[in-house]
């Protein structure tokens, strides 16, 4: 599968699509970018008068670029395979720096293992200064049906 086909298979749309571009993808990992539009709705409430991107949204962004794109690629590129659905099953993330409205981030994910339908990745998010803003481990089950 190529990058465009993977993007077309993502099951998200605005305001919950957190992938702008896939930079690289192969059987060992993926990388991509997303820019947090300053008008995203959650900035109105997180926090009052002090908009900062919520950690859960950073986690989701790493999951979409790392786990989900890679899961679709691995299943869709397998011989006779069809692109699967990825169900998030666990996360363990450390947060180092805030991400403010309008910032562009890059996510780099490396596969730890993909066995018995479980995909486990290490992920890290970098800001435009190439500083690590958060990193950790994300895992999910890659299944044939949604909610699988």
């Amino acid at each position: 599968m190529n990058k465009e086909e993977i993007l077309a298979h993502l099951p998200y749309s605005k305001p919950f699509l957190f992938v702008d571009e896939i930079l690289h993808i192969d059987e060992n990992g993926s990388s991509g970018t997303f820019t947090f539009d300053k008008d995203l709705d959650f900035y109105k409430g997180h926090f009052k008068d002090h908009p900062v991107t919520p950690g859960v949204i950073l986690t989701e962004t790493m999951a979409q670029i790392g786990l989900v794109c890679l899961g679709i690629y691995l299943t869709g590129s397998a011989e006779g395979g069809v692109p699967g659905h990825v169900m998030l099953t666990s996360t363990a993330i450390d947060f180092m720096k805030p991400v403010f409205p309008g910032e562009k981030v890059k996510v780099v994910a490396e596969k730890v293992y993909f066995r018995f339908k479980k995909l486990n990745c290490t992920v890290q998010m970098l800001n435009e200064q190439h500083e690590v803003v958060c990193k950790g481990t994300i895992a999910g089950m890659v299944t044939n049906k949604m909610n699988g």
Partner: protein
């Protein structure tokens, strides 16, 4: 390796992922990973990967799919150890 020793080596692996700690305390050959221990499908994979490491064996997809309770796990481990 006798069955008691097998269960003794299996229990700490299972205990890591089991949600029902009371069921871990009374673990026996009939204990079901999903129904009794409330292990989810993702953690079931981790149990299998940890079993591979603990016993230095490789578990195939077919074995994985039927490894749903303690007795099936023990059978599979004994089988793989024999064919090593």
């Amino acid at each position: 390796m006798d069955r008691a020793e097998l269960i003794a080596r299996l229990t700490p692996i299972i205990a890591t992922y089991a949600q029902d700690k009371d069921a871990v305390a009374s673990i026996n050959e009939n204990t079901d990973f999903i129904k009794d221990l409330k292990i989810n499908s993702a953690n079931l994979v981790d149990v299998v990967l940890d079993v591979e490491e603990e016993f230095d064996i490789e578990i195939d997809n077919v074995s994985m799919e039927r490894m749903l309770n303690v007795s099936a796990a023990m059978e599979i481990i004994e089988d793989k150890l024999k064919s090593k």
